[in-house]
Symmetry: D2
């Protein structure tokens, strides 16, 4: 493959000590597809400049508006911006760049309100830019393999989904003990939602990506366990999907079903995102903490374990790996897969080429809107203590 000029990327957010900003930067570096050349690393221009110098980033700005305007005006301005701010800033920052034709790679959840999310969908469509959302867990090669196996009918018609994501880092009030990240993530104004927003949305995205199913209804129990906390830190959700396998009549109803549960107060648990999908012909099991294996329990015959790196995996899974079997890949590589696909798509657009279909495999602005709808719907169901309509179609 001949190589054109690497893309120029900017970053908003990701100041000193920010966890997710560092992750995005490594994801950018791993494949060398883009160079980080500009950023707003602090609202204080001096601090922003100092951190840029630390990072070896040429151009530092004190605000995203200034950066958007200045970069759009340069001949060698950025092709794409990476947004790694707290959630409530995603929308305004994104609009500033989209409005100037600059593509966006944005952290999740996309926005703190559905109105914001839908406005973003419309803006992206109008501007014709690329927008990628870093639901990084669907970047894992074996998650892509799971999606391919479901699509190929290997487990038959899907009947049951169990999506779960447990963490323990918010089991105590660390937001009051100096954790900056915990502080904004537990602030309803800045985060929009707590466990549901931060990790429930990942579980929703993972289940949707693998199964392709659309939610119909849900019933959520949304909780706050840590005294004094103003946001949800635990949620359990009953799921009903459209269509699916169950028959009509009697006690039976249509559509696959499932459970999604997430918690940030599961003390001692690290980052336990899991998905199980059972269909008429078998069950698929994947776990983020051991991401290099995907188990298929067929209805008949032996369990099969798919492992990363093998030649007989689906094209999307092979496209998303860099190492042979047994040389494990992990979180950074999966994260970088979202970037690599989005960046190659952006480069193709820049160069007037059709993107490689394999590169179009990244979470979109519509996925982001659906995620925000899920979060808001679950919160509402929790408040009402009742089943609610969960079907959603993004604005056309």
């Amino acid at each position: 493959m001949s190589r054109s000029r690497p893309l120029r990327i900017g970053m908003v957010g990701g100041g000193p000590g920010a966890f997710i900003g560092d992750v995005h930067r490594r994801a950018i570096r791993l494949d060398g597809l883009a160079t980080l050349v500009a950023g707003v690393f602090s609202s204080d221009p001096q601090k922003s400049k100092a951190h840029a110098a630390e990072l070896g980033v040429e151009r530092a700005y004190g605000s995203y508006e200034e950066m958007a305007e200045a970069e759009a005006a340069r001949d060698d301005g950025i092709d794409v911006v990476s947004i790694v701010t707290p959630n409530w800033l995603h929308a305004p920052v994104a609009h500033a760049f989209i409005a100037r034709g600059i593509s966006v790679i944005c952290d999740k959840p996309m926005t703190t309100t559905l109105a914001d999310a839908e406005a973003l969908v419309r803006a992206v469509r109008e501007a014709g830019v690329v927008f990628a959302l870093t639901h990084n867990y669907t970047g894992y090669p074996l998650v892509k393999q799971a999606r391919a196996l479901v699509a190929d009918g290997v487990i038959g018609e899907v009947r049951k989904v169990v999506a779960e994501y447990s963490q323990g880092w918010l089991a105590t009030a660390v937001e009051r003990e100096g954790s900056k990240q915990a502080a904004w993530r537990t602030d309803p104004e800045k985060a929009g939602a707590g466990a549901l927003g931060d990790i429930g949305s990942h579980a929703e995205n993972l289940a949707a990506y693998v199964t392709g199913l659309r939610l119909d209804r849900l019933c959520a129990d949304v909780r706050t366990f840590v005294p004094g906390r103003a946001i949800d830190d635990d949620a359990n959700v009953l799921l009903r999907y459209e269509g699916g396998a169950a028959q009509q009549g009697g006690a039976q109803t249509a559509g696959a079903g499932g459970v999604l549960h997430c918690s940030q107060i599961a003390a001692g648990v690290e980052n336990d995102l899991r998905l199980r999908v059972s269909g008429t012909e078998g069950t698929l099991i994947w776990r983020q903490e051991e991401p290099n294996a995907l188990r298929l329990l067929p209805r008949e015959g032996q369990e099969r374990v798919y492992r990363r790196g093998h030649d007989d995996l689906a094209p999307a899974a092979r496209h998303a790996t860099r190492l042979p079997p047994g040389h494990p890949e992990a979180f950074f590589e999966a994260f970088a897969n979202v970037y690599a696909n989005a960046l190659r798509t952006i480069a193709a657009r820049r160069d007037g080429r059709e993107p490689d279909p394999l590169d179009l495999d990244f979470p979109t602005v519509e996925d982001g809107a659906r995620g925000v709808h899920f979060i808001q719907t679950a919160l509402e169901s929790g408040r009402r203590e009742a089943w609610v309509d969960a079907s959603y179609t993004p604005p056309a």
Copy 2:
């Protein structure tokens, strides 16, 4: 320990090919605490006799009424009866023996109606017999260890329970393809409930046993996926417990929470009963298919893995094991633990001794009534598609 005469035990049910009858017989034999001397193995007296001969059982009967009457009249009659019939027969068979002062070890779920369950509670109390229910999974030593750790406060105040039990053996309509067991288990008259009754009740029992928590409310999604089936084969249940850790006010409500989900249509899954309990100080994880390990994830410090057979386990766990570490024990041994504790308690009563407190560790008739209440409540919640009251106190 000096050894008194082994108990004499009878069996109702467990004819040729019956899975659970064979399990009960091996559980009886493993420890040699009782000898199987009488049984009704078929409603056809000739067949009953033939099967008794196969099994080396002395006395065969054609009906449980006949057996109860005859055995009660003998000097060397049975001390205890094991009931391994389909669910709907548990109550009448049990009453026949209880009424004659004969103790009962009964398969689960206890009855098909709550009225039956409560009548049984009263009968057992009046007769003063021992009644044990074979919720065999709480017989595992490391389940007992989990209970002890919770009771000792090792994981702090319990906040979240995830109990799950998945199987795949009913993913197709095997009840119409010659499986006798599937036939009665999917017949609402004979089984009372499907997945909820057969395995959901085990998950409920396991969670209650380990945590000691009492349910307050629940919201269930109860499903039937296999076309033509007249009983539930999948259920997901949101749980709220009384008391517990969450604070009052705002979006917050009192009491631990949780999820229980069970399925018999998870194609390819074998017998995947799991429990996770998170408290303020850590999380406990146990899985039936790998029963010799119990994981404790403390809020701080390294994960600890408790293994069966070690001297530093809780007394109840040590009391329930027969082999040193690394020599795995499994399903039969756990099942036999319910028997062993119940039989030693029955022997103590027979001999006028106080039972060893460690022997009193088996599921009781009250546990059985609570289990039936859970099943019925979940079914009702599913029908109403709403949260329902799930609190329960057995009849005094």
Copy 3:
């Protein structure tokens, strides 16, 4: 299957507190194929009688000679004797019963000298009795599945064997702290060999059973780590097998190769017996502490996990299981498989029937002699610090 009279079995050894005697008794009881009716449980006749009473065993003797003579003289004398004494007594006890036409089920290793082992081979052949050696680990259903897969060529021609067995219970001098079992097992006179005899022989048996390969040469490093101990507590052995896959010429030599290592001083390790066999087409992996799964890593394609209880396992594996998939079986059940096969073979001989070929699947007196030869050869290699001839053919 119509059932004839259960066999009558006697036991020599297995007094109060003896670990392995209790295991043998439970293995006998689990299937109900034999009833324990006689025994020598102590060389003190009073103690022997008292323990027999504890166990509900009718006839107690003070010596094995007395027992052999008395039982042989009775119409209702034992059909078979179970020998669970320390190793050095296996041979004289076995001869006493064999000489009277009584079949033998004997603990391992078979004898403490090769001469004793070979004399036993000859005695068994002359007497025409059944002799089974309780190499219980080959009783696991998935070990039998592994053997069947190798025999069927699923992994092609075998090239490499890794057999290992680690324990930690002798990491300190427990033999001087009151452990009776440790005392005789570390006494060269009573045990013959230490780690090599107690567990190395299991590893050798397991590898031979699964692969069918015959040893050609070996080079052993035999060690004693615990100060003051007079017997080996750790050994590492290089293995060369006859025939096999490697080509002739150059640096290359014929025959599969391998490693066997065993240790009783691996502090903290429980009972970690493992086998890996690699052939030209794939690798099989089995581990005793998780006995319900057998992994097959094929040269191409996904790993397959064979699980116990499935209908598509080999006949020998299905013959050796009692529970459906997901209902785990473990140590006792595997142990009982050696008994069940041996007892059914003994019953067939008693009844003048041809034994079921599936029942003939238990370790024989010839396997025992080969095991003793392996132990003695490894000890010799360790003393000489050199490769030695390890080929062996039992006496004709």
Copy 4:
């Protein structure tokens, strides 16, 4: 930490399609500590230039001599060179750069002869440059944790080491089917040794790094299984270490012992590097394919599982990680740890600072010489079929 100018790095080797060259480049990029600015990517200057352009590398050369001379002459010449050629070229390439005062990061094994290795030791010492060998597996944080636990005496005095490394990719003659990597790795002239050199040396390095023990003697069985192959593809090695735990006298000898086995013909196995170390107080277990966990089996008490990312790990382990617990790290990150420590050390030297002691944690030229000595000694033992002296001290 204030950040000085990133280092400039060059590369020799790593042309199109080369596996290990790509790995080194990603390791360089992940942390942004150095920029790849020059390279010899082919002996054909045109091809070298073309590949450099692909990679976005400024300066391409047609030979390493040319590159060393030119870079040494530039004001902005490279600070360090990465050598990723086949093994036989490591020494001459390294000398060319070392002679000009340029530091070296070199792939393993270091050289194909011990003479070459020792000459390199002397050259590095004379030139005073930094030399790091990419034994990447010791870059894993939990390997560093294991080393710290051993050093802290957590498992007491080491008695037994089991180091193993199995792969299956050379189970057939892929070197004759177009695999360039297999072709040179199975060519004795270019590789020096086969399985022993490529992966046995990793196992040796891992064991030495974790335990700190020095080999005393060894006895190896070195094999070639694939017909027509001219190099070893499988080896089993008995190990004796200096000093250690066993007592003198009798059958007992001094020093810890162990086994190292490696295979590239274990068909179906991916990259199964494992280490177990047993001491008087417990056993440590680590496995490369699941690198985020380290198990400690203490002699008494529960197994503890150390997981990457926790604050209570040893400083060296914390220094070697980039993500919080549960966000797995893997192969690239471990590889990058060797680079990061070496590059920070090189930068410190460049800037006239004392290196951070935590940065000095990377494999050195002396480790490389010891590794080559191990390989050569094992090959010799295999040829002689005898125990040989394995003690080694690099040239002073």
